[in-house]
């Protein structure tokens, strides 16, 4: 009698079929349309909400996207306020950031020289970050004036901490054996700093710079709102437009301020890539 040696067929349905395997596509090339789609959705929701506000007769609270766009590019009086305001804010942000970098790097280098210096002064850097900027504005205004200088000081205070913290972390990131390699050649403190610690600190410093740059935009706008004098920036523009209940103009100023922040963030991301992307994996 023949014995049936054919393979059992009970598992057939579960056996994997070649070609049926689904591969999740996550290629970077096709990702652009996702944010684009989200953008369309956001605009649609914006219109929807604007419509609801308009039906209630309160369109002054929530303008439609095209009204904001018109205020931005086609309305001479608004444009004449917003664009120069942007320029003034950019100036404050750049000046503040530059000063924060100089002060922050200097402090970090000093702290990196000895453990006791770091332990003595780092807590005060943390305190600086915790200072409620609104509360000390009158003090800053009284000392340096409620003008450009005052706005720059606000920007410096807001953007200083990430530079100190990240630079210090970077300077101390060179490992012990690398330091000893320099020590064996009797390298000076200066040589150690310039040939080992500064390059080693670059990735971390660039990260801090990127954070600080974003904060400098916030500092420039807030400082402008808090300090009444000097050339008006975006903060003043937002205050003035909203006090006059000019919704499209207010929103246009907000949009420009946000775009400024995003541009700075992207710019410094690019700078990081250029500075350390070759040897450091920025992720």
């Amino acid at each position: 009698m023949a014995i049936d040696t054919a393979p059992r067929t009970t598992t057939q349905g579960r056996s994997p079929v070649p070609g049926q395997v689904t591969v999740r596509r996550s290629s970077a090339k096709v990702i652009w349309w996702q944010p684009a789609l989200a953008f369309v959705a956001i605009i649609a929701v914006w219109y929807l909400i604007a419509g609801i506000f308009a039906l209630q007769g309160r369109s002054f609270l929530w303008p439609a996207p095209h009204e904001v766009l018109i205020a931005l590019v086609a309305e001479p009086t608004a444009a004449a306020t917003i664009w120069p305001a942007l320029l003034n804010s950019v100036l404050v942000a750049i000046t503040g950031l530059a000063i924060a970098v100089v002060i922050g790097v200097t402090i970090a280098v000093l702290m990196a020289q000895a453990r006791w210096i770091e332990r003595s002064f780092f807590p005060y850097a943390v305190v600086l970050q915790c200072v409620p900027i609104l509360a000390i504005t009158p003090l800053i205004g009284a000392i340096v004036g409620y003008n450009f200088a005052g706005k720059v000081v606000v920007t410096v205070i807001i953007s200083l901490f990430p530079i100190i913290a990240n630079t210090l972390f970077g300077l101390l990131s060179a490992d012990r054996a690398q330091r000893e390699l320099f020590q064996l050649q009797r390298a000076s403190r200066w040589t150690l700093l310039t040939k080992l610690q500064f390059p080693a600190a670059m990735p971390s410093f660039m990260l801090g710079l990127r954070t600080a740059a974003g904060l400098s935009v916030i500092g420039a706008v807030i400082g402008d709102q808090l300090m009444g004098q000097g050339s008006p920036g975006l903060g003043s523009a937002i205050s003035v437009f909203s006090s006059r209940i000019q919704a499209p103009e207010t929103w246009a100023s907000l949009l420009v301020a946000s775009a400024f922040g995003v541009a700075v963030f992207l710019l410094f991301g690019l700078l990081s890539r250029l500075a350390v992307g070759k040897w450091f994996d920025l992720g």
Binding site: E180, L181, Q183, L184, T191, A200, F280, D281
Partner: protein, 258 residues
């Protein structure tokens, strides 16, 4: 205690002892005694390997020899200024290319860029990395990074070469190949070597003398002279005499660890 590290070699007949430790003891502030009464000599033409269990203070020997640490008792004298030091990691600077990494020590010693470029090129050729001059460390394999590290020390033209378990993190095949290369360099460049490892067969294969250390506090248990001639045949690793010596060293290591 006396310490005469880094006294330049006298201009007359060079002293045969490049490194001379006598009664060297190292007691850290924490109270740990890393080394106890160590006598060790490395002469010109010698390749001495120290084997011992982890944490027995082997690395401390090198740190004292190089001047990174000072012995708390005993005499540690090194009669040359040209000391090469190879760390456990390749310790390359990740932002520098192979060429610029190899140039580093000459650069720190204030040599002109022309001088150091020539030295680096020669050293890169010695370790077989020609063609990789402009690669960055992250583009290299572990073995190639260690070669770069070797080349960097070779630019000092060392008379005494200190190795702190340099091949411990590499795979067996790479490690054996680098052992062969190191022996070739030892014969060609005529430096004296002091090599730390926890691999007994590596110790026997590389050295003219093997020193066995005990666990903490580290002291020397036994010393073996390795009779095989230099340059060494790679196949000696599979000979009976080699195996026998490895066995004896391993035995001494186990005894010392008790």
């Amino acid at each position: 205690m006396t310490l005469t590290a880094h006294a330049p070699a006298s201009t007359g007949t060079p002293s045969p002892d490049l490194l001379d430790f006598s009664g060297v003891t190292m007691r850290f502030d924490t109270g740990t005694v890393a080394l106890e009464d160590v006598d060790l000599t490395v002469r010109r033409g010698e390749f001495v390997t120290v084997v011992g269990p982890s944490g027995c203070g082997k690395s401390t020997l090198l740190r004292i020899a190089s001047g990174l640490e000072t012995a708390t008792a005993g005499t540690a004298s090194v009669s040359t200024d040209r000391i090469g030091y190879v760390f456990q990691d390749a310790t390359l600077l990740p932002w520098r290319t192979v060429q610029r990494n190899v140039e580093l020590l000459a650069e720190l010693n204030g040599q002109s860029s022309q001088e150091r470029q020539g030295k680096a090129a020669a050293a890169i050729e010695l370790v077989g990395l020609t063609g990789f001059e402009s690669s960055l460390p992250k583009q290299l394999s572990g073995g190639m990074r260690m070669r770069t590290s070797l080349a960097r020390s070779l630019t000092l033209d060392p008379e005494l070469f200190l190795f702190d378990e340099p091949f411990g993190a590499l795979d067996e095949i790479t490690r054996e190949r680098l052992n062969d290369e190191l022996l070739r360099l030892f014969v060609e460049q005529q430096f004296a070597g002091l090599f730390i490892t926890h691999s007994v067969s590596e110790a026997v294969y590389l050295s003219t003398r093997v020193v066995v250390m005990s666990g903490r506090p580290g002291h020397i248990v036994k010393t073996f002279d390795v009779p095989f001639p230099m340059p060494r045949d790679p196949d000696i690793r599979y000979s009976a005499e080699f195996g026998e010596l490895v066995g004896e060293v391993s035995h001494a290591l186990r005894e010392g660890h008790r």
